[in-house]
Symmetry: C2
Subunit: 273 residues, 2 copies
């Protein structure tokens, strides 16, 4: 596995590849969620490039940029074992310049939910993703459905700016108790881990309600609130695939999204129906 | 010469090309300035794509978007004779979508000069150029030095977003009297054409002053103002190549830039020293 530290190394490496390239952008602290993306890429492409870059501009002031989990040694081993061909691990000054254009995510889908709680977060995500896609020029790039809004906005950017990459959405990976895997789970103590289970539990309750025939979004949200009552809920929302709020469940085109704080740790989860 | 009307046609055409591709984006109403860019591209690349698209979002309210000169038949002939392989002529709804990310040009170089007079103009330029570059994936893209600030901001975007295209700056083309060619010259009547000559004349006067040993920017600007006194001058500026104002001429790293109105027509010109 090649370790690439500079954009120049990455550009040269990319020029040497002539077949399908898969790309998995990450912020490190790799878990089974990332591994599932990497495995999918390794299986479907001739070459797989993974990036590890904790992108400063997608963190808001006061968020966990400086304390974001760093497990470089384990991450390298994971990538090597998973069959990654090249790992791109740049410093910030390789990626950002003093004067450069800014990307502003489209209002409609970036000021709601995550964007409401974390203004400009998605602008930072899009700006790093366009840079990474331009550097790696992947045939396919893999993103998890857990960050549903991020996935939507990246697909939207690829479509509207005519980037020549297929964005492949990958399923949420959960631990044996149902907790959606996240690098931020590392912040949870044993007690908080138990509390955090209520997030996926609330989604499970919602799906049971829907299976029972309940189609009113508000009633489903009420049931979810009960399950989540001990957490600091930021939002519970039921939307279509374009993130418009809906009142009645559409069984082919709907998402249920939750963000909640467990202690000091902010977690998100969702379910696509 | 292929005529491509949709992005799909362009993407398919581009896929059929395996060698060097040159690209010349234009807003049509082609003149010798454009022809010089096209000739340069045809000479240096295996294939040349020209686009004609009057980009609505780079015009401000009240500017000449709706009256911008349209000479489609002549443009087609010019491209054919110049050896263009494909001409991309999309409608607006091929290029822009209802919800899409916006590019914001870097503050420093986009709020001065042209950007001061035409706020958000460069955001519109960058947004269309990134789309066109992603669609045509050119090895080389050709831009005139007349739009010096546009050229700088596009080079900056290509560098900072890691686009895999070389931006080739091309010299300003002038008529026999020195007037910098521009599609907007079509708005000038005979008398205005004579008045407009004072713009290039002011730059010539500046270069004579510099050759005589005058290095003080303010003194050179005074001389230029005299020449331009009958026009409505928007700015006369002397800057380095990064558009920082300078007080003393640096003979290797300096530009003199003018914008002025002749009647209702706004013209720009510049000289690189």
């Amino acid at each position: 596995m090649k370790i690439l530290k500079t954009t120049k190394e990455l550009i040269n490496y990319r020029k040497s590849l002539t077949c399908n390239v898969g790309f998995v952008p990450t912020m490190g602290a790799l878990h089974q969620g990332h591994i599932s993306l990497i495995k999918e890429s390794v299986q479907k492409n001739n070459n797989t490039i993974v990036s590890i870059f904790v992108n400063p501009i997608q963190f808001l002031a006061g968020e966990d940029f400086t304390s974001y989990p760093n497990r470089q040694k384990a991450d390298l081993k994971i990538c090597e074992l998973a069959g990654v061909d090249a790992l791109f691990m740049p410093n910030t000054d390789e990626i950002y310049f003093e004067n450069e254009p800014i990307l502003v995510a489209p209002m409609k889908q970036s000021f709601i939910l995550e964007g409401y709680q974390r203004p400009k977060h998605f602008d930072g995500v899009l700006r790093v993703v366009i840079k990474l896609l331009n550097l790696t020029k992947p045939t396919n790039a893999y993103f998890g459905k857990k960050d549903a809004q991020q996935l939507f906005l990246i697909q939207n950017m690829v479509k509207t700016l005519f980037l020549d990459t297929t964005i492949v959405p990958c399923e949420i990976i959960r631990d044996e108790n149902g907790l959606a895997l996240s690098s931020r789970n590392a912040y949870l103590d044993e007690n908080e881990k138990l509390q955090a289970l209520n997030i996926s539990k609330s989604l499970k309750i919602a799906s049971i309600e829907i299976m029972r025939g309940e189609l009113h979004a508000e009633k489903i949200k009420e049931k979810m609130k009960e399950v989540l009552k001990e957490l600091e809920v930021e939002y519970i929302e039921i939307t279509n695939r374009k993130f418009d709020k809906i009142e009645k469940i559409d069984l082919k085109n709907c998402m249920i999204l939750v963000a909640a704080k467990v202690g000091k740790t902010r977690l998100i989860d969702n379910m696509w129906i």
